[in-house]
């Protein structure tokens, strides 16, 4: 990964690249007008990375978009967004500028990197064409020249074989490469400021680490300033120079990164920092639980095995004669009653597939999987249905796991009604109320519809539904990944409380090592459908054996700038050794 350096002709800048002054933005919505940004002031100095963090919906994206004048028609803005020109002296107020001028600014003075690389690329044009579009919009470059520039910029962001890849369509790139392409598009006109809105949220930690490196190079080698929006404090610690914390449309705190992490001033910031899980957090608790289990085992109550996978293989049939795709390949593990097994791995490694197969939602195609004594390979739904009483399932996305037309109470009552514990939802209401209270939701919320609850509340209701029948086994598929850190912390806490109280065994699926560490007794690491490592949190996270686990662990940014700098070095070392031993992972 070498850079073909190009001489930087950008004049020395003195003033801020962008200077936002008392920005107010409101939206017209179905429910009247909504204020998204309420008097925000921010500045980004040349060559600086400013991170903006905050809750979901706190106005980060809206603020960022206003810098490019990309607000939708339903938005109205007031205040000033002064954007420095490329030449360094003239600054334009984006809020007041006419459309034509706005078009000139975009791409040259400020560029944007979007969160989801697969949606930010037009699927029907080659990436070369799309990069050239930016050039064509601003210069009268010939087709060939534009192409050369595209190849050049692709090379600079680390796309291998850019001469060929320039004619590829977006779907021919991997997720990380797509994000590189998106960054290349932002870089091609050498903008003074790059606005990156959650540029790594859609990516795996390992890929995220690479993209963060790239962004760092954007600043270091290209001299661009970066406005980085994220909710991941690890990313903040890794990349940013300064941090602004937003809450409810306002900036509540602004400080240098080191300062903020070391001495958060605002209560909100403190809570936010405290809510971030980190590896090692759960060690104590896991140890305590292990001891308890050992004791009970000595007392003669050997825990029953609830789930036992032996050489489990799951293939998805290929469409129209394409070969079947094997998502899970020869996985063996065991889950005893009362135990929490964490399953981690990057996207697509087969975590969900395993969870679903245990719940009887996906067919087992090879090996053996016994769930509550029932062999799942070739099992009929009719045979398995009675055992469902003992299985609970918590889905990743709390919003979509509730039937939008039923009230929360009706949803929670569903298992009770189905298994004959109550005649109808009304009859089950008493038990539902108890359940809601158990997950710390007021009874009255039972009468609400799912979309009238917040994400965290919904996930709690989802939990209530899963434990309604007091199952022996709970499968939780990334139950918090759709939630904010603070809400996530709350749900996780509740989760472990309930687990302690009800003693169900749990398969906890997550891509976040820190989260798994917090909850699990044992951790299993999945890599491309294979189980590469399994052990207690201490074993797996403390002294990872497998190279993949090591890299996974090293890629995870920690919310501490100092520690993170060290980890980064470690990661580079790891990567270098891996590169020399094998070819690139993808």
């Amino acid at each position: 990964m070498t850079l073909t350096d190009r001489p930087q002709e950008r004049p020395r800048r003195t003033g801020p690249v962008v200077d936002i002054r008392d920005l107010h933005i409101s939206f017209a919505s179905d429910a009247g007008s909504v204020k998204a940004v309420d008097g925000v002031s921010l500045r980004v100095a040349p060559g600086e990375v400013l991170a903006v963090v905050g809750e979901s919906g706190s106005g980060k994206t809206v603020t960022a978009k206003s810098i490019l004048g990309l607000l939708p028609a339903s938005a109205t803005a007031s205040g000033m967004v002064l954007l420095a020109g490329k030449d360094g002296d003239s600054a334009t107020d984006v809020v007041a500028v006419p459309k034509a001028r706005l078009r000139e600014l975009r791409g040259t003075d400020v560029a944007m990197v979007f969160q989801e690389p697969s949606t930010a690329l037009n699927p029907v044009y080659t990436v070369g064409w799309q990069i050239a579009e930016g050039l064509r919009a601003h210069t009268s470059m010939s087709r060939r020249e534009a192409r050369e520039r595209a190849v050049d910029v692709l090379r600079r962001v680390g796309i291998p074989d850019p001469e060929q890849r320039v004619d590829y369509y977006p779907h021919q790139f991997s997720g990380g490469q797509k994000q590189r392409v998106v960054i290349a598009m932002a870089l091609v006109l050498d903008p003074g400021l790059i606005v990156a809105d959650e540029p790594t949220t859609a990516l795996d930690v390992t890929v995220q680490a690479e993209i963060l490196d790239l962004l760092r190079r954007c600043r270091d080698d290209f001299g661009a300033s970066i406005l980085l929006i994220t909710h991941n404090l690890g990313v903040v610690a890794d990349l940013s120079d300064r941090v602004a914390v937003m809450y409810a449309g306002e900036v509540v705190e602004e400080a240098s990164t080191a300062e903020l992490f070391a001495h958060p001033r605002e209560e909100y910031t403190k809570k936010l920092l405290a809510a971030v899980p980190y590896v090692g957090q759960g060690r104590e608790r896991a140890a305590a639980r292990a001891t308890a289990r050992r004791e009970s085992a000595e007392a003669g109550t050997e825990p029953a095995t609830l789930v036992e996978a032996d050489g489990l293989r799951i293939s998805y049939p290929g469409r129209l004669g394409r070969p079947a795709f094997t998502a899970v390949d020869g996985v063996s593990f065991r889950l005893a009653s009362g135990e929490v097994l964490g399953l981690v791995g990057e996207s697509g490694s087969g975590k969900t597939t395993i969870g679903r197969s245990i719940a009887g939602l996906t067919r087992v195609t090879g090996g053996s999987l016994r769930v509550l004594g029932q062999e799942m390979r070739g099992v009929k739904e009719r045979t398995f249905r009675p055992r469902r009483v003992d299985i609970g399932f918590v889905f990743q996305d709390p919003a979509s796991s509730f039937n939008p037309l039923l009230t929360i109470a009706e949803c929670v009552a569903e298992p009770l009604v189905v298994h004959g514990r109550a005649g109808d939802p009304r009859a089950a209401r008493h038990r539902v109320d108890e359940l809601l209270e158990a997950v710390q939701l007021p009874r009255a919320y039972g009468d609400r519809y799912p979309h009238e609850l917040s994400g965290g509340q919904r996930q709690r209701a989802s939990l209530a539904r899963a434990i309604a029948l007091e199952p022996q086994l709970l499968i939780a598929d990334e139950p918090t990944s759709a939630l904010d850190v603070s809400v996530q912390a709350r749900v996780l806490e509740l989760f472990s409380e309930l687990q302690a109280r009800l003693g169900f065994a749990c398969l906890f699926i997550s891509h976040d090592l820190a989260v798994v560490d917090l909850l699990a007794d044992r951790i299993a690491v999945l890599h491309r459908g294979r189980l590469v490592e399994e052990g207690t949190g201490e074993q797996v996270l403390g002294a990872p054996q497998h190279a993949y686990t090591q890299r996974l662990l090293a890629s995870l940014p920690v919310p501490d700038p100092v520690a993170q700098a060290g980890r980064r070095a470690e990661l580079h070392r790891l990567r270098a050794s891996e590169e020399s031993s094998s070819s690139a992972p993808r």
């Binding site: 107010h24 933005i25 409101s26 017209a28 919505s29 179905d30 007008s33 909504v34 204020k35 998204a36 809750e55 979901s56 919906g57 706190s58 339903s74 109205t76 803005a77 007031s78 809450y247 409810a248 306002e250 209560e267 909100y268 936010l272 405290a274 809510a275 719940a359 009887g360 939602l361 009675p386 469902r388 399932f393 889905f395 990743q396 996305d397 919003a399 979509s400 039937n403 939008p404 039923l406 569903e414 298992p415 189905v418 298994h419 710390q440 007021p442 919320y445 519809y449 979309h451 009238e452 994400g455 965290g456 509340q457 539904r465 990334e478 759709a482 904010d484 603070s486 912390a489 709350r490």
Partner: protein
């Protein structure tokens, strides 16, 4: 965690936010209030035209000065091809019928046909689509191929063949209406089938259906309680759009002579067809009015359907402009300064921040 959230309430009728329902939340009223600017004008125009059409249909017996097959009053014939004016506001036809009366009665026939046709196809199509989509298997494959075949076939031709097949001996008004309606039904069933099936297949893999499955609910229960109601949310839109198509098909059948006879009921397509030779002879009123009636009725219904469609789709819905500093800051998911130890349940609903309006 990517943008895989397909919005469960996204393109749907307004599920109200748990607040007390008032007249403002009634289906159409809600949309009128929701719409702004051009969209509102179009919706209201559509509603007006549709309203006039429906009223004319319902009140035809009261509004129409004469019967649809009446050619004389008190032993005095109306006379054929009388110009508009006098006793016959819109003139009379070649057969000596009163044009205005036939227009009004024609609305009734049209409405009846639409209702019968759309209701019939709705039930059959929805049931088939649901079963086929949910159960899958060979039944699904067969039904899909059949539906696709029928769907791909020119609907008017199919309607003609079917109407011939079932019109045998049917000449009473209801016989005619039924024949036309069934013909239209055959054409529409595949449409409903496809829509419902597609929805069902989508919903089938939604987390809430899977969660019902995990809970152990029976197939029947899942289909009835979870899939059906969610799959049919888009139906009102299809319904309005199909209404206009039913109208046109009926008129076309009438025009081609496979429709309802004037002595059984008034039908615009038939009248228009009969009027063609009038028009070339300089008699404009016999053709213009039924033609306009068709156009306006279809225009009205389609406008309503399209507007509803736009309003239900957040991408297409227009919104009123607001001033920069107006509105309240939407509460986010946490209480300031109290993230972790906020009393349970005090969290404020966050609306759509994480369900997302986006697709």
């Amino acid at each position: 965690m990517a943008a895989t959230t397909s919005v469960p309430g996204g393109a749907a009728s307004p599920v109200l936010h748990g607040r007390r329902r008032t007249w403002r939340d009634l289906p159409v009223v809600h949309q009128v209030r929701q719409s702004v600017g051009v969209q509102r004008v179009m919706l209201v125009l559509g509603l007006l035209l549709t309203g006039v059409f429906v009223l004319a249909a319902l009140l035809a017996p009261l509004l129409a000065p004469y019967g649809f097959a009446q050619i004389e009053q008190d032993q005095v014939p109306f006379g054929t091809l009388q110009a508009p004016g006098g006793a016959h506001l819109l003139g009379t036809t070649q057969g000596g019928y009163d044009v205005l009366s036939r227009m009004l009665w024609g609305a009734q026939t049209a409405l009846e046909t639409i209702v019968v046709a759309v209701v019939l196809s709705l039930f059959v199509g929805v049931a088939l689509g649901l079963v086929s989509g949910y159960l899958g298997g060979w039944l699904d494959r067969v039904l899909v191929v059949v539906a696709d075949a029928v769907y791909a076939f020119p609907s008017l031709l199919l309607a003609i063949v079917v109407s011939i097949a079932i019109s045998g001996g049917q000449s009473s008004k209801w016989g005619g209406v039924l024949a036309a309606a069934v013909a239209i039904t055959v054409v529409f069933i595949p449409q409903y089938f496809r829509v419902i099936r597609a929805e069902t297949v989508r919903i089938k893999s939604e987390a809430y259906v899977e969660s019902a499955k995990v809970v152990g609910a029976s197939t029947g229960r899942i289909m009835g309680r979870h899939v059906l109601r969610n799959a049919t949310r888009t139906l009102p839109l299809i319904f309005t759009l199909n209404c206009s198509e039913a109208l046109l098909t009926l008129a076309a059948l009438g025009f081609l002579g496979f429709g309802i006879q004037p002595t059984s009921a008034a039908e615009w397509g038939y009248d228009l067809q009969r009027a063609i030779s009038d028009v070339t002879a300089g008699v404009w009123w016999t053709g213009l009015f039924p033609g306009l009636a068709i156009v306006l009725a279809v225009l009205g219904v389609t406008l309503v359907g399209e507007s509803l469609n736009d309003l239900a789709d957040p991408r297409l819905r227009g919104r009123r402009a607001v001033s920069a500093a107006s509105g309240t800051v939407a509460a986010t998911s946490v209480v300031p300064g109290g993230t972790l130890d906020a009393a349970a349940g005090l969290e404020t609903p966050e609306g759509q921040t994480d369900g997302g309006d986006r697709r």
